[in-house]
């Protein structure tokens, strides 16, 4: 969506490359040690971009329509980047419905700041939102088709910024696919719908992204063979959300992979392999 918004306005977009060891190391050096691994990766990407473009886009996304919040890290990341890299020139949006900052408002301001005409900004926003929506629908259709697969179906419950990361999440997906499992992602089904479904597991959860993932577990509960939670150390919302889900969902085998900045791929592989073995054995016996 962001890329398409800026390109619609006729700007050149530079996107940092897939995460690699160098980016992660730069991020670790630019962060305090207790910051979560995902935020460290983010800082690495920001540092990579410095000097390669005129402005770096660092959004602040805090509270959505219905009062659901993002993780606290998202609240502060703009100010953290400012404090850590005072030399970087930033542009940003602020989405905070509680403060009257709707998504459209945020993009309107951003467009103003970039000197674009209001009508052009509106069109760019519309097109960008539509592009995102289309992309989401495609993913949903593909995932829906996968449900028919005869393979073992494993649902990955992880934040998109973790599981689609080339360094942090992809090794897990590769390992699963090499073991001939069908991989489903909990962040793909429609978010509003899933947030509603999450209420059967938790009445009071207020993190939008975790509600999304939790709702997907309910959504897929009778269609999957196993669940893999994947989280980065020490993720605040996940620390509680996963605990609650594991205590409430009883009949699906699940495992929890916690990733930090110095993990070994071999150990990860062994754990995934034994988890798949368990799922296979269970499937055999239930036949």
């Amino acid at each position: 969506m962001w890329r398409s918004f800026f390109e619609e306005l006729g700007l050149n977009v530079v996107v940092s490359p897939n995460t690699n060891k160098a980016i992660l190391d730069a991020g670790i050096n630019a962060s305090i040690d207790e910051s979560c691994t995902s935020a460290k990766v983010y800082m690495g990407h920001v540092e990579w971009l410095i000097g390669k473009c005129d402005y770096i886009f660092v959004p602040r996304i805090a509270i959505y329509e219905n009062g659901d919040a993002t993780c606290t890290k998202f609240y502060g990341i703009y100010d953290i980047v400012r404090a850590t890299f005072p030399q970087a020139k930033l542009i940003h949006i602020n989405i905070d419905y509680e403060d009257g900052q709707t998504e459209w408002n945020a993009y309107k301001k951003l467009g103003d700041e970039l000197g674009a005409k209001p009508a052009a900004v509106k069109q760019a926003y519309k097109n960008a939102a539509a592009a995102l929506k289309n992309y989401e629908l495609e993913l949903q259709a593909a995932q829906h088709a996968l449900l028919q697969s005869p393979k073992l179906k494993v649902l990955i419950v992880a934040h998109p910024y973790n599981i689609y990361d080339a360094l942090i999440g992809e090794p897990i997906v590769r390992a699963l696919e090499s073991l001939n499992a069908a991989v489903l992602y909990a962040d793909i089904p429609d978010i509003a719908h899933m947030c509603e479904k999450s209420k059967t597991i938790s009445r009071t959860m207020y993190w939008r992204y975790n509600k999304h993932l939790t709702g997907s577990i309910v959504h897929y509960s009778d269609k999957i063979d196993g669940i893999i939670f994947m989280t980065t150390f020490p993720c605040g919302p996940d620390s509680l959300a996963i605990e609650l889900i594991q205590r409430k969902v009883k009949d699906i085998p699940m495992t929890n992979l916690v990733i930090d900045s110095n993990f070994g791929e071999a150990g990860l592989h062994t754990r995934i392999e034994s988890f798949i073995d368990i799922l296979e054995a269970k499937k055999e016996t239930s036949k």
């Binding site: 703009y78 100010d79 953290i80 404090a83 993190w207 020490p234 509680l240």
Partner: protein, 359 residues
Amino acid sequence: MKHKISFPHMGKYSVPIKKLIEELVGDSGEVMLAPSITKKTIELGSKHSPEFVCIPFKYNLGNFIEALENGATVLFHTSGDCRMGFYNEVQEQILRDLGYEFEMCILETNSRNRSLRDFYGMFKRLNPRLTYARTIKAILLAVRIVFAMDKIERYVRQNIGFETQAGTLEEIENTFLRDVAKAKSIFTVGKLYKQAMRKLESVPLNKPQNALKIGVVGELYVLMEPFSNYFIEKELAKFGIEVTRFIDVSYLLFSPKHKIPYLVKESEGYATYDIGADGTDSVAKCVYFAKNGYDGIIHLKPFGCTPEVNSIPICQKISEDLGIPILYFSFDSQTSETGVKTRLEAFYDMIEMKRETVK
């Protein structure tokens, strides 16, 4: 059957909370305080907690288990702006999985969701004879106690390092807390408060004109529960330092200065937005302390506390720009007390030397 009500500890605040609940439930229940926090509390709490949850969760859970073991049937919990707001549902599930039977009630602290009607409804279920008038009276009484004890504690904190006879101030404070626990009306509280303040002010102090001044910022639970911060303020007092801390319950719940727009303004550009829970407060107060002639700042947080982890890079920038030293502590169940003391000592030596060279 009478309800047996309990709640987790947080410093001395068990006095007003107990009072509030007692006034509201009347004869239909009794308040039994959870046993004081000990090493065993935190061991119990850690054992049944998720792996990398923050430390207040473990203390709360330990308190709950110990209270339930003593026969509690109703547990009170509170809400919060960070992941603390989700504590109660997870803790309730953990305790039920352990086989305890109880009822969980939430004292809503978030100004967004605070409503007198819900509050009244919750206590009405516990005590069918409750009236609105009585509810309001009980709230006023508890709030009055909180304000009085916070003011007294603030005075004690600033001056305890300079007593001529160690323990005098604290004893007056403790007497006040003991007496106020029996108070029946806000007028009695007011009278007791005035008495205590008079006594405190008449205690002889040996305070030099230019005593070292330190500000304390950070996450609210580890700031207000001395057990969880290894009684750090007492340690500081031994060095003869004047300690200032803004965060206490009256400040958090009622101060207009704790609102985000004010804090963002006070942070002078270091925070553009709310960075989560009390992180913004830490940033704003670091700027305040730096600009008001303080010699150093101590920042406390539980390990992994996201809002405070957010605030640290910004505080580091403030420290660099405005030249004020900041010492960061991160508490978990494995923190060593000796380590805390050594680091405090080194910090004290450092700010004292800094003072000398500036002269």
